[in-house]
Amino acid sequence: MAAPSHAGHGHDPHLAHHFENPAQQSQAVRLGMWIFLATEVLFFGGLFVAYSVYRANNPEIFVFAHQFLDKNLGALNTVILICSSFTMAWAVRAAQLRQAGLLRLMLALTLLCAFGFLGVKAVEYHHKWEHGLLWARQYQPQVHAVGHDSGHGGTEGGAAAAVEPAPAVPDGDATTIPQAPEGPTGLAAAAAEPLPSGHVAAAEPRNAQVFFSIYFMMTGLHGIHVLGGMAVMAWLLVGSFRGAFTDGYFTPVDMTGLYWHLVDLIWIYLFLLLYLIH
């Protein structure tokens, strides 16, 4: 980058030597960021496909299990993230206008929102942990669904927990594999059979643990992306206190903004798909 031979060029300290002008550089970085965001969408896309396949084949699991998620906390987190997207966008604007103080304030607010989001998420995870509502192998539910009327069953160890079937042991001759080979099944003819009507959410369907596996994978991976974004924002904040982004060069703020909006957008889909199911 900063090889001595072209230190003498000296017009724009932010212009790398292999670009002809700042416009070309900005265009290249921006295109690179958009392609990176496309790879992120495809990365999450695998999980969204897994979600779709299992929900199409076993809608009763999703209708039942989503009741254990706290819609209020989910909504709160959605609001927090949308606010953070707003402050992030404002931070980009501040950097464009070379308003150093406003930039610092907005970056700090965005970072604060991100902490808030993770705090709420931690509360939610803690509840799941306490009630044994974890991914498949660790799934040992201790409570009824929120909507149930039979009261909180004995959480005593020995007593039959309110929600019984031990997930890892398929009873009888029934298989836990979503129906395979004979005839058109799988992705081709998902959920051809009508559901047994009536008591859908009343009793726990088989394999409810699949929902929690998907829930933890999706929200966990999203949470890691939030953490990554926070690390970059902290770096921007430190930079802004050292006087960076006040000379009209705001590409790092801009790119972080794009990333942050994508993280926000993915959460909105997660909120809809995991919390708000009918």
Partner: protein
């Protein structure tokens, strides 16, 4: 690589400023290589790393073939054999052939072909290399941890239940995926934003079209492999059960995810190879490439179609008949752009004045072997024959004809084509011909016999076999030794050329693309002047110059800015 080439470049008349230090020896020192942002050095580091992986994967292959010399145990037990073929596959696919052409040759050549100083994002380029190193470490640590015995596809549910070191290997492949994504991203950005004046999309060298199409697949398919392998690792570590039938998961979903990446991945392997063929066939036929636009468009067509055919790996997995028919038909459609390319290359050669130098020998090998590999792919894409042939050595032979006969042969052609540019030295044509012949004969002996035994029902991946297959297996093993010998010869004369080879002129072959407009090896900043692109296959613009021993432009001013 501490070859002293400071005086290597022949002072061609139209190259101002020759004689300065080349990228190989300026700046000096190990640190200047390890932390370099120069695309040429990163390309060379990739080349060394990738050829080392190729050697490793090749040793595993020879061990597998030696084991199969006789029925029953020959040199190892069955469990070791399972680990050997898994290592062979995983090392060759993830460490060697996917990064092979784009990251090593592409990195070196792409900015040169654009007349640029570097790729658009040099730091990301270096990061990509170190991601490759980290991924390689994770993958190879699995050997110490007990190796993996699942086959390179890591199919569930076996991969979630076996006691072997699946997590290390899959995390390695996950990290290698990022390396591949970063390379692809960089190439797309570079081609979009850094083309020189005069180089419209349809004036780009076809190698760049190949790299661009490859990059699209790298960027769009690899993330899906990433999430798949992450789910597989989470399955083993946490027990999330998404692919585990005992926990309510679906193992076939893994196959869909895996092939959604891994089928496009075979086009990541072959598309840049086809780009090399397009360059070399024109230069060594002394003729303008035939059907430029069709070759360019067929690269993109293959990239698009590659995303729509993954189901042909799963014809026997319980997919519905309708799904199978659709995937079969889409699979056939890939043959169209592939054939468009092959016929255009043949038409380029038609009535050309063909020079049988080493790169061209590999082009001819490629055409022969890729035709067989491609056409046998249609046997496997046809539902009825696939039921008979699936999971036999016929499949093994088919993909080796495409991957080795296609990609590796073209990679070798590319190495021989750009070797003088990369290192400033010529190699021995005589020994190059010997090596090419050994490789061609050895390859066909190894894998054609596998077509025959596969169609007779010999299943792939088996440790043991019936006595009637002995002759085929022995012929195949002997072939693999001949193949290995060919590579030993190649390694010997290439290494020899680094030290004792004749100095290479700037343009030894008469190519009209921009990488031949700089010294051999290039200077750290590639070009002393800005270039204006014209027709990259206008070979008549060049003329043999006996003084420099290479080709020079009749009118050097024609490609200079303002010239």
């Amino acid at each position: 690589m501490a070859v002293d080439t400071s005086a290597a470049a022949a002072p061609a008349a139209d190259l101002p400023g020759t004689g300065g230090p080349s990228y190989l020896d300026h700046p000096r020192g190990l640190g200047s290589w390890l932390f370099t942002l120069d695309h040429k050095r990163i390309g060379v580091m990739y080349l060394v790393a990738i050829l080392t992986s190729f050697l490793l994967g090749g040793v595993f292959a020879l061990l597998v073939r030696t084991e199969l010399l006789t029925p029953g145990p020959t040199i190892m037990d069955a469990d070791t054999y399972n680990k050997m073929f898994t290592l062979h596959g995983a090392v060759m696919v993830f460490l060697f052939i996917i990064p092979g052409i784009p990251a090593a040759l592409g990195n070196f050549v792409l900015p040169l072909m654009l007349g640029a100083k570097d790729v658009a994002l040099p730091r990301l380029n270096l990061a990509s290399f170190y991601f490759w190193v980290a991924g390689a470490v994770f993958s190879l640590v699995s050997i110490v941890l007990g190796a993996v015995d699942t086959g390179w596809t890591f199919y569930t549910p076996y991969s979630t239940t076996t006691s072997s070191a699946v997590v290390s290997m899959t995390l390695g492949a996950f990290i290698l995926g990022f390396s591949s994504i970063f390379t692809g991203l960089n190439f797309i950005v570079t081609i979009h934003t850094m083309r020189p004046e005069g180089m419209s999309w349809f004036k780009m060298p076809l190698f760049l079209w190949g790299l661009y199409s490859t990059a699209i697949i790298q960027v769009l398919a690899t993330p899906v492999l990433g999430i798949t392998l992450l789910l597989l690792a989470a399955e083993r570590v946490l027990g999330i059960g998404i692919f585990d039938p005992a926990l309510g998961g679906d193992p076939v979903l893994y196959q869909h995810f895996f092939w959604f990446y891994s089928h496009p991945a075979v086009y990541i392997m072959i598309l840049p190879a086809m780009g090399i063929i397009s360059e070399v066939v024109s230069v060594f036929s002394g003729k303008h490439i035939f059907g430029y636009r069709f070759i360019a468009a067929s690269s993109v067509a293959i990239a698009v179609l590659s995303f729509l055919v993954w189901g042909h790996h799963m014809f026997t997995s319980g997919q519905s008949g309708l799904t199978n028919v659709i995937f079969s038909a889409l699979t056939f459609s890939v043959a169209i752009p592939s054939a468009v390319k092959v016929f255009n290359w043949l038409a380029t050669m038609y009535k050309g004045s063909i020079r049988l130098a080493a790169p061209m020998v590999y082009v001819l090998s490629f055409l022969f072997l890729f035709a067989i590999g491609g056409l046998t792919g249609l046997f496997l894409g046809a539902l009825s024959t696939d039921i008979h042939l699936h999971d036999t050595y016929f499949v093994v032979a088919h993909f080796h004809y495409v991957m080795f006969g296609g990609t590796v042969i073209a990679f070798l052609g590319g190495i021989h084509y750009w070797w003088p540019k990369m290192f400033g030295r010529m190699y021995s044509e005589k020994w190059a011909a010997v090596a090419a012949l050994l490789i061609f004969v050895g390859f066909n002996l190894t894998f054609f016999t596998q077509f025959v035994m596969g169609s007779h029902g010999m299943p792939r991946r088996y440790f043991n076999y019936l006595p009637e297959f002995t002759a085929y297996h022995q012929a195949s093993t002997v072939g693999s030794y001949v193949l290995g010998l060919g590579f030993v010869v190649m390694a010997a004369y290439l290494l020899h050329s680094l030290v004792r080879g004749a100095k290479a002129p700037a343009n030894p072959w008469g190519g009209a693309t921009f990488e031949w407009e700089t010294t051999s090896p290039p200077k750290p900043h590639n070009f002393d002047r800005e270039l204006v692109a014209g027709d990259p296959y206008d070979l008549d613009a060049l003329v043999w110059d006996a003084a420099s021993g290479g080709y020079v432009r009749r009118d050097p001013a024609a490609i200079r800015v303002g010239g």
